[in-house]
């Protein structure tokens, strides 16, 4: 893995948070805190003025609340419609840096159609999915990325096969596709910077956890165990000329009930043209 000298680690993020909205609603141990931090650092390292140049768009869910905590222009849309809203913003004012920051249920269940079409149309958006494989806000029900042999209160015995968001994004035509976990907070700002600077749709499958509900039932009951689990099961992809690292069997995330994640292929799967 690349070693990074991240000179902004000392940056005081407080000015970039909407302090009057704090304390936030998120549980302790949740990935969302570090995900927001990683995003802010990434945007700053991309040279963006959060206050004036960035529009944070989110849908509904625990993740959806992020747009209200980041001190940028923003909009907390209806469930699933973050990308549709972002489409209108970008076409209305192409000078704005439009970021969609939302959850796996929001972006890939109810909002899945908007995602594939925005990717196909090569819309210049940065889409960051806090993919905790569950509907956190509504209490741990199954999402399109819930793993087969895990417990949810709304599926019987076994879940259907989850979406592999990396492959979905590659197939739909995203210009930049990466996957990391919320535990990669040191490298994520650099990845987010690259995503923001890519022309066309940049997508990050940000593997995250909901230790309070889904994790508790399925193998990572605390934030600490979750971070450990992410770091131990992450495997850097090894790009090759034949593209074998892009085959579905090599991009899929694996999970075992009781053990938590067993394999998370991480890295940049596709790089796009710079703006």
């Amino acid at each position: 893995m690349v070693t990074i000298k991240f000179d902004l680690l000392g940056h005081n993020n407080e000015v970039d948070l909407t302090s009057r909205m704090l304390p936030h609603i998120w549980c302790s141990g949740c990935s969302l805190g570090t995900n927001v931090q990683s995003f802010i650092r990434g945007a700053i390292s991309a040279g963006l003025n959060l206050d004036r140049e960035v529009v944070m768009v989110s849908g509904i869910g625990c993740t959806g609340r992020a747009s209200g905590y980041i001190e940028a222009d923003g909009f907390h849309t209806t469930h699933g419609r973050a990308i549709a809203f972002a489409t209108g913003v970008k076409l209305g004012n192409p000078n704005l840096e439009v970021v969609v920051f939302s959850g796996d249920g929001d972006l890939f269940a109810i909002g899945g159609n908007h995602f594939i079409h925005a990717a196909r149309r090569k819309e210049d958006l940065t889409v960051i999915c806090t993919n905790n494989s569950t509907y956190g806000l509504t209490g741990g029900q199954a999402s399109p990325t819930t793993f087969e042999n895990t417990y949810t209160p709304t599926t019987i015995e076994k879940n259907d096969k989850p979406f592999d968001l990396v492959n979905l994004a590659l197939g739909a035509g995203a210009a930049f596709v990466a996957r990391y976990t919320s535990a990669h907070y040191k490298i994520l700002p650099r990845i987010i910077k690259e995503a923001l600077q890519t022309k066309g749709m940049a997508f990050i499958d940000l593997i995250s956890g909901c230790p309070a509900i889904y994790g508790k039932k399925n193998g990572y009951p605390t934030g600490e165990i979750m971070v450990q689990n992410f770091l131990e099961s992450s495997v850097d992809i090894v790009p090759d000329d034949e593209g074998t690292y892009l085959l579905p069997e090599n991009t899929a995330v694996h999970f075992d009930q009781g053990k938590g994640y067993t394999k998370i292929p991480v890295g940049i799967f596709r790089r796009g043209e710079k703006k």
Binding site: H76, T78, T87, G92
Partner: protein, 387 residues
């Protein structure tokens, strides 16, 4: 490059035209300063979209046009575009209007100026795609969940398709609200002469901002306590909005006081300025014993019937609504109470609800469901008391 490209036409056409209601709606939107159109094809609204596809990206001060993946995306993108301080709209028909209800609720709650044109066809479901109806009057009021009020205007000729679309943009900007224009399949294709006025003769309103909090419309200053100045994206003041209950900064606040204040203000701002909305047409009602209440294409047939009845010496009149919501209840009570009333509509019974409710008297009804306007003879016979 699109074959549709019509570079030789200026953004605003001038003078007399001979064309359809849908053409007039599209030209009015350009006249009003439309910047973003997002839509999904559906008969009989599609020609509005096609006209704008061939015009909006190619005129001076070009705007953005997108055929979205569905109507949910269309309305939501219109909201997004509006938050970049641009005028934005969509047009649709029955099934698409149903899909847009979620976004319409979001637009009312986030006080987003935008215009939705619903060219009505027969429902429910896919219904009668190519025939007219008037079955979305109640949906325009109650279609999305929660309490809200969207100003709703209804033209009945091609000139009014132009004029009321301009009014709709002005009302949406002045009051920071979505506004509906309800037309129907007949108006969509009906060709008539209409006039595009000189620019200097038409007032165009632009929404308020923190720098310019006091805007006027029709000579009236719009209260910045009722209609908060709008911060838009990329400007000096932070712009944030949510579909959750929120305080005046746009941030989440679920407290009882905040929610109640917000809900009351949203209602108040529409009701306070409803006298600026298009007024009803009152045709021969002063001495009339029998008055037909109608709107849209149906009112054209009703007027013909009223004239025929008058020729036979029957004192008949027509009360034609041009603003449906908020319902002009005071005016209708003052003008019509005590007279014999016949509500005529292309619906089994929607307009009759508010008429009965406010007049508090028996009302006769023609609910015509044959995919066309009720013929004048049918209405005349009802006026004459022949069934």
């Amino acid at each position: 490059m699109s074959e549709n490209k019509l570079v030789e036409e200026p953004r605003v056409l001038a003078g007399p035209q001979f064309n359809s209601g849908n053409f007039a709606v599209a030209e009015a939107a350009l006249f009003a300063g439309l910047h973003g159109y997002f839509g999904y094809p559906i008969t009989p609204s599609t020609t509005i979209m096609e006209r704008l596809a061939s015009r909006l990206p190619y005129v001076e001060k070009p705007g953005a046009f997108l055929q979205a993946e569905d109507e949910i995306a269309s309305i939501t993108a219109v909201i997004g575009c509006s938050w970049t301080r641009n005028k934005a709209m969509t047009a649709t028909s029955g099934p698409g209007f149903s899909l847009m209800q979620e976004g319409i609720g979001l637009a009312t709650f986030t006080e987003t100026p935008l215009v939705v044109v619903n060219v009505m066809r027969g429902g429910p479901s896919t219904g009668l795609p190519t025939f007219p109806a008037q079955q979305e009057l109640m949906q325009a009021h109650f279609g999305s969940h929660g309490d809200y009020m969207v100003p709703t205007f209804a033209p009945n000729n091609v000139q009014e398709c132009f004029d009321l679309t301009i009014e709709a943009f002005n009302a949406s900007e002045a009051l920071r609200t979505p506004v509906f224009v309800l037309t129907d399949q007949i108006l969509s294709t009906l060709k008539e002469r209409f006039l595009i006025p000189k620019k200097e003769n038409i007032e165009l309103v632009n929404r308020s901002s923190p720098d310019n909090p006091h805007i006027t419309w029709k000579g009236e200053t719009i209260s910045s306590n009722l209609v908060l100045p709008m911060n838009c994206f990329g400007e000096e003041s932070k712009a944030f909005a949510t579909g959750l209950s929120h305080d005046d900064t746009g941030h989440v606040d679920l407290s009882a006081d905040t929610y109640e204040l917000l809900m009351n203000r949203l209602k108040e701002k529409i009701l306070t300025y409803q006298h600026l909305f298009p007024k009803p047409e009152k045709y021969l009602i002063d001495d009339a014993d029998t008055v037909v209440v109608a709107y849209g294409s149906t009112a054209r047939s009703a007027k013909y019937a009223v004239n025929s009845a008058r020729k036979k010496g029957i004192k008949a009149g027509l009360y034609r609504l041009r603003t449906i919501w908020p319902f002009p209840k005071d005016d209708i009570i003052q003008s019509l109470r005590g007279k014999r009333i016949i509500v005529v509509e292309m619906s089994s019974g929607q307009l009759i609800w508010p008429v009965e409710r406010y007049l508090k008297q028996d009302v006769e009804h023609i609910g015509y469901l044959r995919g066309s306007v009720p013929p004048p003879s049918l209405i005349r016979k009802k006026i004459e008391g022949v069934n």
